[in-house]
Symmetry: none
Subunit: 249 residues, 2 copies
Amino acid sequence: MEPVSLGQFHLVHNAFSFAIAVMGAATAFFFLNRSQVAPAYRTAITITGIVTLIAMYHYLRIFASWEAGFAVLNGEIKQTGVAFNDAYRYVDWLLTVPLLLVELILVMRLSPSETMAKATKLGALAAIMVLLGYPGEISGDSGTRWLWWSLSMIPFLIIMFDLFVGLKASIESQPPAARGLVSAARWVTVFSWCFYPVVFVLPMLGITGGNATTAVQVGYTVADIVSKAMFGVLIYMIAARKSESEPQH
Amino acid sequence: MEPVSLGQFHLVHNAFSFAIAVMGAATAFFFLNRSQVAPAYRTAITITGIVTLIAMYHYLRIFASWEAGFAVLNGEIKQTGVAFNDAYRYVDWLLTVPLLLVELILVMRLSPSETMAKATKLGALAAIMVLLGYPGEISGDSGTRWLWWSLSMIPFLIIMFDLFVGLKASIESQPPAARGLVSAARWVTVFSWCFYPVVFVLPMLGITGGNATTAVQVGYTVADIVSKAMFGVLIYMIAARKSESEPQH
């Protein structure tokens, strides 16, 4: 664990607290407003809320782990020697990233066999992607980080390609009122997911010490908020729009 | 962090605890009674409850931060050297102030395009207003405080003008039974929001040390209770009244 300045400590601390509040608020919204969408879309909204609930839990742990690492007294900051636990993020992603893909697939409402096939394929690739990233994340050596980053990028690029090309084709089969939102969800996924490999390489691009720690922690937090809570709101809006345009509501 | 007297410490401590109880009670009320209003108003009530839930979370953090700053033993108070975290309030407002405007816009039930346009415009202005206030809040220098206060007042006044003039026009389009409540919500918004810039300037008006700390903390707490919990009850009453006067319930 690298030393950070007092300002950096507070910035990361407040970013984590902000993430706890956002994930908790998002979870309450999805769980309560689940009844506002047609039954066919409720499983997608349940999973959307579960993703932010899991993230809230991990941000509570991440917050506590960050606090344990530093002692701030009379405007001075010292390291306590307790290590920050990077694993919470990867355990979170191992659960939430496959679920994020499942919520997107469910809200598309493809045929049952297509849903199963896509969810299994993309979910498995997402889990492999997260597992391959972890050995790099806990290493301080640039060569090791680049190796695991490159390996993790293989499933990442397959998923991105599948979503970008596969989703584009199925936009045509969506009700006209929902097409704009589905297209937005596709762009938010690609945009927010690209944050992660970029944040990962920051310490390998000459950013060092407390600056690297701060950039990585704040970067991942922003990416998590966009890819889980904001993306979830888009999924909810697609489900609500499609519920209106379908007769079974 | 300025030293406070034992009485001031307890007053602020009890005000924070009161806020936790009020925000928690309000959240339970909105979440449980959400099903009592017509489906068209349920999203407004969900968001009303989420605002008080986010506020409860931050008051738990604010309470803990206040406790950590002082050691009270045998009737004597000492500072521990742990700084009080002002950022929790601003992180809270960054989330809740745009949401407060959204709940007011949603309960008005304007056309979807008008709802989207108003929510985006007022929500963005509210976020800018909060961000501009923060550099002033954490400064002990009166000149710096006045500068950021003035900048923050620009979006503040635009929002106030929009609500006061814009809401007045749409009161006519509300069902007669709800007009009095909508008018009250408009006044409560303007009245409770004006509290914040007044509390902010107290330390610049010759109030110093522990008196300033106490006035600011108790002042913001009262303003939060009025603008979030009491305002939320008004939103709920408007939703309930409008549900009665519309046939789809």
